[in-house]
Symmetry: C2
Subunit: 219 residues, 2 copies
Amino acid sequence: MPSQTTENYLKALYHLHLKNPEISLTELGQRLEVSKPTVNEMIKKMEKQGWVTYVRYKPITLTEDGEREAAKVIRKHRLSEMFLTEIMGFGWEEVHQIAEQIEHLKSDAFFDRMDELLDFPTKDPHGSPIPDREGNFLDNNYQMLSQMEEGQTVVLNALRSSGKEFLMFLNKKEISLGLEITINQIEAFDRSVTVSYGKHKNVVLSQAVAAKLLVSQTE
Amino acid sequence: MPSQTTENYLKALYHLHLKNPEISLTELGQRLEVSKPTVNEMIKKMEKQGWVTYVRYKPITLTEDGEREAAKVIRKHRLSEMFLTEIMGFGWEEVHQIAEQIEHLKSDAFFDRMDELLDFPTKDPHGSPIPDREGNFLDNNYQMLSQMEEGQTVVLNALRSSGKEFLMFLNKKEISLGLEITINQIEAFDRSVTVSYGKHKNVVLSQAVAAKLLVSQTE
DNA sequence: AATTCTTGTTAGGTGCTCCTAACTTTATAT
DNA sequence: ATATAAAGTTAGGAGCACCTAACAAGAATT
């Protein structure tokens, strides 16, 4: 489990790598407001821990693990900001500083509960995407089936989970990528979704399942 | 501002001192699960910082400052627990561990907002008192006027604030300690309270004022 | 190509919170 | 009163995240 400091480095690295995947020590040091020797030392540690690749005098790159972990921190940050504004009624100006602290709390349950109370947002109010709990940024065009509206017809594009049981479940239901799905009804109470597809009519999918099906609307 | 570790020491000291105001290093070490030399060193620092009084080989005592600071941490812990159960829907078993982390967040606004959303609780669900934001434990028999019910008659016992303006305000309203107050009505919307006392009838007190008046019920 | 500027590195140090091993002081028990 | 047990102390060390000063490597400039 990354330390609080490591999480901050990962977050900074993530933001910098969006502009340029090759990150310099100096750049990173400026963003984090620490000296170059400090960054240097820290990056060597993070390299040992597998978050970044680093060779002396060469730019830093995030590993896949590092990228995923960074996304998780960003997820926690954005969820926290949403929670502070939507549920606790703070103004957007005030929340950043508090979210910087909350994002480091060690409790998946806590962030899952936030996610749920916020109704699984995929974007924060600035329009920035919120990664899922595995640290994947959803493709901007994909939305969760559970977030769609009654009457819409959508195409299944991707899955948000790839567990064996989940795949077998989809198999049994004859749900596969590319499938056209029509949303008949969304139950407000438990957010289960009733859908029709192929020769199946009015199949009920739980919220848990619907949230793992990434779809896009057909025009 | 005390460090996270110092806050934990203060909290442990507070709980231990309730049984016995003279606390031994060994006891404290056991509670915090750290070695005796560690406690020893840490307590010396805390003594320099004014949280405890300590003389070699003698038991540790909390200073007034230390006690107040400890109460503040306990307040944050209990508010967090309440928030996690009441607002976020966690079960009582799960919340302790998360609250242990939340209690260290540096943001008064955050805890004030929790307090507000929870409607200014004075006790947690176990019946343990929640100190106020200045770190005062309310006397168990005293309750805030704002927490009473319509129709009750109460006696004003103490004030939760002693600001000049507040005292002048009470003066103007002819409210003083020992006064008998009858609660006529509590407005659900803004929690203002309409009361009668002495020759004053149906005086409206804002929630902010009512929360600062500590009363006990007359039998 | 040589100089200069920028970037990265080493060396040596600090404060915080923790440790074990060995010792001393104080309290308890015979 | 002395021996033993319990509590407290000192010395020396470790890892984390930070620092400054001084030096080396690589890039940019003329």
